[in-house]
Amino acid sequence: MRRRPYFLIFVLILGYAFFYVPIASMIFYSFNKSRLATVWGGFSTEWYGKLLTNQQVLDAAWLSLRIAFLSATIATILGTMAGMALARFSRFRGRVLFSGLVSAPLVMPEVITGISLVLFFIGLEFLIGWPNGRGFTTITLAHITFSLSYVTVVVQSRLASMDRSVEEAAMDLGSKPLRVLFDVTLPIISPAIIAGWLLAFTLSLDDVVITAFTNGPGTTTLPLYIFSKVRLGVTPDMNALATIIVLLVGTGVALAGFLMYRAEKKRERDVQMAIAANK
């Protein structure tokens, strides 16, 4: 019998308090009646009501969702391709440069990516007249560029751990490579592709710095709106907005985690039963 690691339990409790106390405090104060964000003035949901009639917030949220959806979808397609190229084609010209290119945006400071993209877009417009000013298009292109790396990593690692003989078996049974891709490879890695899409979606929905560089007049995404408000200090309506977003995403992730956990448990049970039945 091992001794209980009291020290580790203590650190874990402190660590999770560190993670969650600020968020809990923020949620609590979002129901504060007082206009002063930090002084408790009784329970109220009026800030939530105000938020729903704030056209600026709603516009920003709608813009962010549209950009996130589009950029995540394109980034997932490109990232899946890149992941397959890296995991499946062992030799092609420029492979080293390619793998470097894919991993660079993961570690590149956002200010550098931001400034280089905006200067690039300005230069491009100067030379060929496209993109016409900065806004939806340039933000989306920038988001695709940095989030495709994340999709690539997720897809590549799933492919690397996949048994290649499954693909060979499909080919052996008469499927040409493209058929193998659609019949076998893509269905098997589909959870990774979905995870990659969700990751790209939330990254886009959350991005401040690169968006700040590549946006134009009239394209204020939700994070940019929040950033400009937060600079001025803590307000109860920001608390309410933050609470809605955190709870929405939190519930979504927790639910996804729970469903995955349950599927895994069911799978384990199936395997156990199959072994038991054979005995």
Binding site: T38, I115, I226
Partner: protein
């Protein structure tokens, strides 16, 4: 049963009487789609990642001017000038910005490791269901908005918050000689920036550490204990050395973005000693000095090249080990 005729003949034979769609499929089967799979993301990254960076390099050796474009190059060899880089060494604000960034990043990385390591170890040692729940609780903030999590701390650190007041009361009770007044100034200090960075990037520290620690064979611990090591010695002799790859990965994942961090110092830091990310943004947005902003970016990347290479080296080694 498939025909046994040689492949080229059969492919041609099929094509001649098949509709267009099948011809496209045949084209795809002739490995063209493989090239497409490589080429499309490759070209995307060359176009939207390498080309922009080359433009930054080019602008960093240009000269600022009033007009459009706000940058101009010499029309004869060597076309550019290193004046902008020289300027970075002359004005205090730049090299202090770099120093300030490195200082904050090093301290934040250290504290993230200090908190993250025992947490990762605790998660890795937890039993089945607990481990999943704890892991989910680390990943959860990672998915929720970064900006809003920083915002949550701003709420706590403010001079009138319950947290600040509580902390002031505790400190005033136990260490009265430290505290003056009814609050502690925490917002707009380097302390707040370090705290914000540790808080935001802690999952990046915990997850690679957890991945390494979780893979460790616990029978090694038992073997060491069997040979007479006490728990602390087991940790020092076995667990710690074997988790070095996780430590390096986690430290780099915190250090690199922390150095170039813009949002946290803007919201929580002091205005008078900005970090380099803030300097870069101000140079671009406020001063509209593209060449100087570009050379700040190039110099920042130059500083980060070494940690990025260390990170890639360990990742590649890990990948090789995984392949074996």
């Amino acid at each position: 049963m498939a025909a046994l005729a040689p492949a080229p003949t059969s492919a041609q034979g099929e094509e001649s009487h098949l509709p267009k769609a099948h011809t496209f499929r045949a084209w795809l089967d002739r490995e063209a789609w493989r090239q497409a799979i490589i080429a499309i993301p490759y070209l995307w990254l060359l176009f939207f990642f390498i080309a922009p960076f080359l433009i930054v390099l080019a602008i960093s050796i240009g000269t600022a001017q009033v007009g459009i474009p706000p940058v101009i190059w010499k029309d004869s060899f060597p076309f550019g000038t290193f004046d902008n880089y020289a300027f970075l060494t002359q004005d205090d604000i730049y090299w202090q910005g770099y120093l300030n960034s490195l200082k904050v990043a090093v301290i934040a990385t250290f504290f993230a490791l200090l908190i993250g390591y025992p947490m990762a170890l605790g998660i890795a040692r937890a039993s089945g269901t607990w481990r999943n729940v704890l892991l989910l609780l680390v990943i959860l903030p990672f998915w929720t908005s970064f900006l809003l999590r920083v915002y949550a701390w701003i709420g706590l650190l403010g001079n009138n918050s319950w947290f600040n007041k509580g902390l002031t009361w505790i400190l005033a009770t136990f260490f009265p000689f430290w505290v003056e007044g009814d609050h502690i100034q925490m917002m707009n200090t380097n302390f707040a920036v370090v705290l914000g960075i540790v808080y935001s990037y802690l999952p990046f520290m915990i997850l690679p550490l957890y991945a390494t620690l979780e893979k460790l064979d616990r029978t090694l611990d038992e073997a060491a204990m069997d040979l007479g090591s006490r728990p602390w010695q087991v940790f020092k002799d076995i667990t710690l050395p074997l988790s070095v790859p996780g430590i390096v990965a986690g430290a780099m994942l915190v250090f690199i973005p922390a150095t170039g961090e813009y949002v946290i110092p803007s919201l929580m830091g002091r205005g008078d000693s900005p970090m380099i990310g803030r300097v870069l943004a101000d140079e671009f947005f406020q001063n509209r000095d593209w060449p100087v902003a570009s050379s700040v970016a190039v110099a920042l990347l130059a500083i980060l090249v070494i940690p990025i290479m260390i990170y890639n080296f360990f990742q590649a080694r890990d990948a090789r080990a995984g392949a074996k």
